[in-house]
């Protein structure tokens, strides 16, 4: 794309990026305040970090739809720093920590400069998960007490956990109102994703919590003419005059060993959190771009330096906010910029309202965040990959809880390596080959495919070598990774390869792994450790069919279609629909396929958003090949959401002659003229007179989506007849006079 058309599209997309930046700021405000409160730093410091991140990273960063700001992972490190460096005086500790943040920003900048973005590859995936879970438990343990209005509990994570029963027993006697509000907020956060109302979801859950608690405050002061129902101790305080009140970081302790430890911890966690987030967000980018990780690290480093000097926390790439950005139509870094611009506006204009937010509601948001990090689902998911992965997870989790993050992850790495030794029972394979090159990649001249062969062993210890080669293959090409010369492949690599497979599929490339058939694995999970020495494989239990599955099967028999109840982890043909651009497809199941034509009906599990904004969805889809070539279009019900999208610059094709259709349906696409040609009065009448589905064309195929949940057998039948009629109309496309 040329420079000029880049500029044109930048301005054309500006409205939708402003819109998306606004939605992100709605979640960034409560999170920023909450993360700062959880770190025992002044609440405003979280907002300062988000503003610094948004301004610096949007200008100098190398990623596209990421949002920068204060991160969850850092809460525990920052909290530790503020409490220990200050020696009991929290504000003094905060000033020392600011200096540490500045130093860590410098380190981060050099990491980017030295292109050490690949550093995160040296951490085994499961050990990282264990460490993140420990961080989650740390946040949850501390914030739980605050959530129910108790501020007196001190001590480390273990002590905080032990104090749970006591706090629960006593909370009604301290601040019952605020405590109950905190509990209600938590319940609401858990229920939010199951309320499937699109209008309701326009505002992110944390913002609802904040808005509701401010509303309660106003209700008391305006309607009941009473004072605030919350004690002053439990309300947020932000300085009235922001500009003149910037705290000064104190550098006196810069050569203290403890201080240096803090700098390294902050940097380590900042790098890990940012890299994991960037990697995850790239999968949601509707334009399927690849982020320049090292450039982003440099920008994050600079942003941390700026933030530290202004009294803010350090800046990392944050996953939940970035995913909200991708889901709301953010297309470039300007969304990050606008998110921080809106935050500045909020603080300047709504300072009074912000000070009405009770800490218990913010704590509820953090408890929810902590729970999501430490969710038992994670452990179950990891245990399913292999029992040894579950063990690694638990060992890392406990060693992190009992010591600190750095020693925790170190124990995790060591333990992972010992597990590998135990599994393969040959130390030689690792010692002889660790420093030798083991990857060969070349472009096969006859076929034009990229062929990659891996020798000896491939685990987190040397995955970077394989990654370095794989990164050089354009994702639109065909890559074949051959493990037949490799004796051992670990879980980190298997999961990493799955990421590659996804990004290749997103760009219409092909990514195949071969040579693993001779390797034994302990479970049937696709990411399980593989080794070439056979072990007695566990026989998984086969699930029996549910009632719905039985009905689907009999429907298949009735129509003479094929029915398949197996889970398909890699459903084909979905990547080219706009609907899936910023969503992650998990798996397809219950596939019904017409033996003669291209009609298929299937249930799909996919997720929208990541981490605390993650919503796992299941819905039934119908896919068929269009009898004629179509323009790319999306047809959906016109509602408040689509109206808002219109305002933000998404086109809606309207027909003057068919006001009813134009009012009820939202139609958009890249070639308006071709769309107008295809939407004949006959077709419009067909849509008007039938139930409304979400319909998409990718040029060759049409996709019909039912409700935001799985469809019943009746609904599937309805969808089928709708699709058949639609296919017939398209086939006999004659202009209606």
């Amino acid at each position: 794309m040329s420079k000029k058309s880049d500029t044109v599209s930048f301005f054309k997309e500006l409205p939708q990026n402003i819109f998306s930046g606004f939605v992100v700021s709605l979640i960034a405000l409560p999170l920023g305040l909450g993360l700062a409160v959880a770190s025992e730093a002044p609440p405003i410091s979280g907002i300062i970090a988000a503003v610094a991140g948004g301004l610096v990273v949007s200008v100098l960063g190398g990623s596209n739809v990421t949002i920068a700001g204060p991160g969850n992972g850092l809460v525990i490190v920052l909290l530790g720093a503020i409490t220990t460096l200050g020696g009991g005086d929290l504000y003094q500790g905060y000033l020392y920590t600011l200096a540490a943040i500045i130093f860590s920003g410098i380190l981060l900048f050099f990491f980017g400069l030295l292109r050490m973005g690949s550093m995160s590859e040296f951490f085994p995936a499961t050990a990282l998960q264990g460490m993140l879970a420990a961080i989650g438990i740390g946040i949850l343990a501390k914030q739980f007490h605050l959530m129910i209005g108790i501020q007196s509990v001190k001590g480390g994570t273990i002590e905080q956990l032990i104090a749970f029963p006591e706090s629960i027993a006593n909370f009604l006697s301290s601040y019952p109102f605020a405590g109950v509000l905190g509990l209600f907020s938590l319940v609401f956060l858990f229920l939010y994703s199951s309320i499937r109302n699109p209008y309701f979801h326009l505002i992110p859950a944390p913002m609802w919590v904040v808005v509701a608690s401010i509303g309660i405050g106003y209700y008391y002061s305006l309607v009941l003419n009473q004072g605030s129902p919350f004690s002053k101790d439990l309300l947020i305080e932000i300085p009235n005059n922001l500009i003149s009140n910037f705290p000064r970081p104190q550098f006196e302790k810069s050569f203290d060993l403890k201080f240096i430890g803090v700098v390294f911890s902050i940097t380590l966690i900042a790098v890990i959190e940012s890299l994991l987030s960037i990697k995850a967000v790239d999968k949601l980018d509707p334009r399927k771009r690849r982020s320049n990780v090292n450039k982003d690290l440099r920008a994050l480093g600079l942003a941390s330096i700026v933030s530290g000097f202004l009294g803010g926390l350090n800046v990392v790439t944050v996953i939940a906010r970035s995913s909200v950005n991708a889901n709301n139509g953010g297309t470039n870094r300007s969304a990050n910029f606008f998110h921080s611009a809106f935050l500045v506006l909020f603080v300047l204009l709504l300072g009074k309202q912000i000070q009405m937010i009770p800490l218990t509601s913010l704590a509820a948001i953090l408890v929810f965040t902590g729970y999501k990090l430490a969710s038992p689902d994670n452990l179950i998911r990891i245990y399913k990959i292999g029992p040894e992965q579950g063990l690694i997870f638990i060992v890392t989790l406990f060693s992190t809880l009992l010591t600190n993050l750095i020693s925790g992850i170190a124990v995790g790495i060591l333990f992972t390596f010992l597990t590998h030794l135990f599994l393969i029972k040959k130390i030689k394979i690792f010692t002889i080959n660790l420093f030798k090159p083991n990857v060969l990649m070349y472009l096969e001249e006859q076929t034009g495919n990229y062929y990659v062969s891996v020798k000896n062993f491939c685990s987190f210890l040397n995955f970077y070598r394989l990654k370095k080669k794989l990164d050089q293959i354009p994702e639109s090409e065909h890559a074949i990774v051959d493990f037949s010369l490799c004796d051992f492949v670990d879980h980190t690599v298997m999961e990493g390869l799955n990421d590659y497979r996804r990004s290749f599929t997103r760009k219409q490339g092909i990514f195949e792994t071969i040579g693993l058939d001779i390797h034994a694995s302990e479970t049937d999970h696709p990411f399980s450790v593989r080794k070439s020495i056979p072990i007695s494989a566990l026989v998984g239990l086969r699930n029996s069919l549910t009632n719905r599955q039985k009905e689907l099967k009999s429907l298949g028999e009735q129509l003479n279609w094929n029915y398949d109840s197996e889970i398909d982890n890699n459903p084909k043909g979905l990547g080219r629909f706009l609907f899936f651009e910023s969503k992650v497809v998990n798996y397809a199941i219950n596939k019904l396929k017409n033996k003669k034509s291209s009609f298929r009906v299937f249930d799909l599990s996919y997720s929208e958003g990541v981490f605390i904004t993650k919503e796992d969805l299941k819905a039934s889809f119908l896919l068929f090949k269009s009898p004629i070539t179509l323009p790319v279009f999306v047809l959906d019900k016109e509602d408040l959401r689509t109206t808002l999208y219109n305002l933000a610059g998404f086109d809606d094709v309207n027909f003057e002659k068919h006001p009813d259709f134009s009012k009820r349906f939202h139609l958009s696409g890249n070639d308006n003229k071709a769309i107008r040609e295809i939407f004949t009065p006959k077709l419009i009448y067909f849509f008007e007179s039938h139930p409304v589905f979400h319909i998409e064309s990718n040029g060759s195929h049409l996709m019909i989506k039912g409700k935001d949940r799985l469809s019943s057998i009746q609904e599937i039948k309805l969808m089928l007849s709708f699709a058949e009629d639609l296919a017939l109309i398209l086939k006999n496309k004659t202009p209606l006079s």
């Binding site: 771009r289 690849r290 990780v293 090292n294 030798k436 090159p437 060969l440 990649m441 050089q472 010369l485």
Partner: protein, 283 residues
Amino acid sequence: MSFKPFKNFLFGFAFSPSLKANVYEVTRLASYFNANLIFVHVGEKTKEKELSFKNLLNKSPLKPKNIKTHWTEGDPVKTLIKTCLDFNIDLLLLGALKREKLVTFYLGSIARKLTRRAPCSVLLMLNPSVERHPCKHIVVNGFDSPQTKDTVEASFYFGNTIGAEKITLVEEIDESRVNVSVNDDKSLREATVKKEKINREEKMRVSDLVKKIPLAQKHSLKWDTQSIFGRRGYSIGHYARIVRADLLIMNAQEESTYINRFFPKDLEHILAELPTDVLIIQS
């Protein structure tokens, strides 16, 4: 110095279980080349040993006309190198050992030293056998070095003589030549375009080498090129293993040229883990 045909072969033997296979293989090879074959044993000469070796040799079905056997004593490496010089040897044949339980092969310390110091070309044999295994596919290094011309010439000569079917010339290209670090889509596109360009240049260079080879030596052979971006000396060995080549032909280590100082270990990767039979061409 340009490449000259192999006339004198030398095989240093020891009394090991694979002696029979080694002798059969070596005599067969020498007879294809119509070469003189010299057997050298470094160690004590006894009547018993002499007799058993003679018997073995007599049974070998395919033999060159001229076979000599020498029995000497002393340091094996020094003795064999001296013999190579004395008899104007063109090709030194060595057997490699199979590592216990693992599929990889390695060289004994004597063979390793000989490989590095030999004044002539060296053939390392992994799987000598009593029956003939036809050598079908030969992989040859084609990297940019003054020696490569002779090596390519020798490869066609060698392949033609032993009746190989296919030769693949592999150009190993150091990634520093691309000089673009892949960070994002844009730099990836740049790197890909640049690689394509280097690829074309390399292909041209290697094809030019093949063009100069007399038609008689290449008409019965299929040949192809393959460029690989990666660690020099390593990639070709890995490649030979993947394509299941029967023979890998490499340049000998260049002596004290400036290139040598930058890439001192071209051959070491291959010697550490022999992918297949290896022929090292000294020119």
